[in-house]
Symmetry: C2
Subunit: 200 residues, 2 copies
DNA sequence: GTCTATAATTAGATAGAC
DNA sequence: GTCTATCTAATTATAGAC
């Protein structure tokens, strides 16, 4: 991926993606605002000026990182599984897809989930997240109307609790292969749809 | 509560709690690091120096806020409902209590949930959170052993998903009376224990 | 592609008057 | 309890050499 782990015949420098990867890890560890360009440069064993050769500003690092996370999520809701078939299956597809994207692009999605809307870049990212959220809210309503989901709870609350459960995975999940993420996605669907109570 | 909303015969100033309340709101809106003492002073219509009369440092504001959130949560797990009776009831008690504390001390708990462990103050808060988390994890295991909760899922994953659902409430809930919070707590327990699937 | 040096601004915090 | 003025250190970002 990066020229550091896969160097092209001794060329020493970082490319954009390699710097971004390390920057995102640092942002998640200490917070975006608490991670100064100096600290980032130390972590890369580079000077600050070298980073500015690859990115025009600190905020551009954030923008590209958020775009990578959002691209993954938006991809989930444009797949056929999210737009065709019974609503309950579409809900399951999107929940599963969100967990898998979260696991695959963990640091990027983690960063996205912590954005508060301080700047224009952050506001744009939040708006793209809201489009995703609204899509899922609509699916939940449809699954309720078709009789697949219980109707005695507020659909908005239900949707938010579902997202809360999925998004919170970013706080503790550490990747361990694709099979691991697939099992986690199944567990989420089991808890969400069937609950934790023992049934014989 | 504060001398601003309930002034003592025209004394104009803020007291510690009144400043803290507004500071916590600002920290949640823009992030702790992104909220400078200058911005905070503007928001209070005070000078920076006036804030330093009430608090010795920016971090002391954070420390007192986190302590208020943690005190509420720790209170939940020392109540009789959390330590006596069937494990499934104790799990329900703690989940319900966590939701109610979150609703009642919303800005303080919101701030707590965003702490990453950058400083000693943050690390201490995280450690107190972990004590709470471990208590709940133990309860979930006990409820499983007594046959109340399903045993086909990893108990650690289940506990984290439960917390994820509860904690995510801070991202969207806006208080509307105690009855509102009690209903929300019931909804959380319904989803967590019985799931969303329609059952006739 | 990376460096050193530095500009311009802002941060947290303090001194001392009222 | 609050103010103005100020300190020092750290911040983002740029200039120009190699």
């Amino acid at each position: 991926m990066s020229e550091v782990t896969n160097p092209k015949r001794g060329r020493p420098g970082y490319d954009q993606a390699a710097i971004l990867e390390i920057a995102v890890l640092a942002f998640n560890e200490h917070g975006y605002d608490a991670t100064s360009m100096s600290k980032l440069a130390s972590r890369l064993s580079l000077s600050k000026a070298a980073i500015y050769h690859h990115f025009s500003s600190k905020e551009e690092l954030l923008e590209l990182a958020l775009d990578h996370a959002l691209g993954g999520l938006e991809n989930v809701i444009t797949q056929p599984g999210a737009t065709t078939g019974p609503a309950i299956d579409r809900v399951a597809h999107v929940l599963r897809g969100a967990v898998l994207v979260l696991a695959e692009r963990l640091p990027y999605v983690t960063l996205l989930l912590r954005v508060r809307g301080n700047t224009e870049v952050e506001c744009n990212a939040l708006e793209r997240r809201r489009v995703f959220d609204r899509f899922v809210a609509t699916l939940v309503l449809a699954a309720r109307d078709e009789g697949s989901l219980r109707a005695d709870l507020d659909a908005g609350v239900v949707t938010r609790l579902l997202f809360g459960m999925v998004n919170s995975i970013a706080e503790w999940y550490r990747p361990n292969g694709a099979a691991d993420a697939a099992r986690l996605a199944n567990d989420v669907l089991t808890v969400a749809l069937d609950g934790l109570r023992f049934r014989d």
